[in-house]
Symmetry: C2
Subunit: 359 residues, 2 copies
């Protein structure tokens, strides 16, 4: 695939619905931080050292490609535009850390977009594997296989006592961050999210709201392990999984309660959100996230039946500001112009995903 | 037509679009107040006297029917339900004065719904003729013909100096109230309506907002002559016409200015209003009026092209609370139930009036 395809594509396999527990869990991700022996961490490394990392990682890729049976795109951050970098960040294909200083920062992105390997992010090597739905075990196996493949070819900084050495001490040990992204409209609309956010540090987990604004909550949260040390990767993942299972159960109970106690009101709000997306001529990014949260809930509750659920993931990607500026091939598009383009994209997407007869 | 048809019909010929200056003038109305000689005005009359008025007016109807070539429905306010009376008021087929004490209060309504003759309203006889668009002359001729026909058959209270005697001195003289109902979204949205309302008494005119709320302006105003004395009917009508012509010109200029200076915003608001009407599951009457004002503007400006303009009049009739309670044959329908029924009616009406391909 060309860089252009990567930028313009509005589908991301791991934003598809239909994954395991896909009504609540949007995606699962494992990220591993690794560093090469005897080379300074990227924040202290000079260009020569960074180039050495780049070179060493380049050499490991063919074997990874062979093992996975799919090609990778190699994107040099220095050779793509600032806008293109932002699109990759929006799509969660790279981290924002990778582009602070683009020199010798490389992203290798697998053809199916599930795997990104980054060179000279906060650590020399970052491996991230993202899968649709609740599928941490599979994501972990995938990341671990790639890690093994790299470890066979280079010398990683590893200490028998400490585990993998990392630039930031919060990643020390396993170097692993496991996370799931959840859609929690039931808990948000019933005002139960605060207690979960407050409780999470005691469980060794971090809960962070993604996208949206206070007025327009996206209801999307990323939950990840805070600890990286003292437990095995499998134990850390099990810990996260058990908490996520509880949150999923709470979310489903909250949705049932909403339907039981305020069905009319919920239906009205969901359909109004859909009507606004279908007809608005201008939409801010924040408003889009707020409306999408309601529409997604409507799709999950089978209240909205005139559009296929796949539209949700496409709108989360194709409705973003950098995506639209890049699509229009005009990074200077004004905020108003972007908002109008966003509304046009949303209308086109919903029309394309229309199903069945209308009422 | 049966009473039931009269109640359930959602079309009123004089709410059709396409009348003279129909982009701004919804309808024109002439109302004449007449009283019978030597019978006390209704507010002072006993049942015998009221019955006498009823009897005398009954006798004049056949000749009116013959002259107009169409039948009249005779509705005795005592013999229809309170809810049915409210529906007639909502449809502007009778005045609210007619139903305060329903005994011996009769409405004769022409088959085409343009003419209502009321017995024992504030005056013994009230004749009202309503036509679509800006058509006061025609409405005046129609009312005048009916008046002549009645005058030939009964003795009207008339004083050479004062003119027609009426229960309330504000109607003395011609007994005529000429009015037009205007849709003025351009002047309302550009905040120019206050100056027109403030200026109107100096012109001998009354401007009154109909329906809607401050938050949800319907943008519908009734403008009528205040004077009834000292000028001929034709002079009073000419006076009203010339002011209305000016307001129409101002309204069109305001619409042009809105499109020139804030086209994107206007289009967005209009389409969002349409989207809400198309998809909401619950609508208050106030919100409906506010949304309809925007949709009607969108229809007039040819911004909304997927629904025929006839929907507007139907929604103004079929979206009303008493209409819906009567339609559901349940006068005890709760406010929430009415709001849900209203939304369902609106969706059905818009789907039925759908034209062309959607985007």
């Amino acid at each position: 695939m060309s860089v252009n395809d990567l930028m313009r594509s509005r589908t991301l396999k791991w934003l598809n619905t239909g994954g395991n527990n896909g009504d609540v869990v949007l995606l699962s991700r494992i990220r591993l931080a690794r560093n090469l022996r005897q080379i300074p961490f990227p924040n202290r490394a000079d260009y020569n050292a960074l180039a050495q990392v780049e070179l060493q990682l380049d050499k490991t890729i063919p074997q990874i490609v062979e093992g996975l049976g799919q090609p990778f795109d190699r994107l040099d951050m220095e050779h793509i535009s600032a806008l293109q970098r932002q699109v990759l960040i929006e799509k969660q294909l790279i981290s924002s850390n990778l582009v602070k200083n683009p020199q010798h920062r490389i992203a290798y992105i697998s053809d199916d977009r599930r795997i990104t390997i980054m060179a000279n992010e906060e650590d020399h090597i970052r491996i991230q594997c993202t899968l649709a739905g609740f599928d941490l075990d599979h994501a972990w196996r995938l990341a671990s296989d790639i890690d093994d493949c790299i470890e066979n070819q280079v010398n990683l900084a590893f200490d028998e006592k400490m585990g993998y050495l990392t630039s930031c001490p919060t990643n020390l040990g396993t170097g692993m961050r496991a996370s799931v992204v959840l859609h929690l409209p039931g808990l948000v609309y019933s005002r139960n999210m605060d207690s979960i956010v407050n409780l999470s540090p005691q469980l060794g987990l971090a809960v962070r709201s993604l996208f949206g604004t206070k007025e327009n909550p996206s209801c999307i949260y990323r939950i990840s392990n805070q600890l990286t040390l003292g437990l095995s990767e499998e134990e850390l993942i099990e810990n996260l999984k058990s908490t996520v299972n509880e949150i999923v159960a709470h979310e489903r109970a909250a949705r049932k309660a909403l339907l039981y106690y305020m069905k009319d009101d919920v239906e009205d709000r969901i359909w109004r959100a859909y009507g606004t997306l279908r007809y608005a001529r201008s939409l801010s990014e924040g408003e889009l996230f707020g409306l999408l949260a309601k529409v997604r809930l409507g799709l999950d509750l089978k209240i909205i039946d005139e559009v296929s659920p796949e539209c949700y993931g496409e709108l989360l990607v194709g409705g973003r500001t950098s995506y639209l500026r890049n699509f229009a091939e005009n990074e200077n598009l004004s905020a108003n112009e972007v908002d109008r383009l966003r509304a046009a994209h949303v209308r086109e997407t919903l029309t394309r995903h229309r199903i069945g007869r209308e009422e």
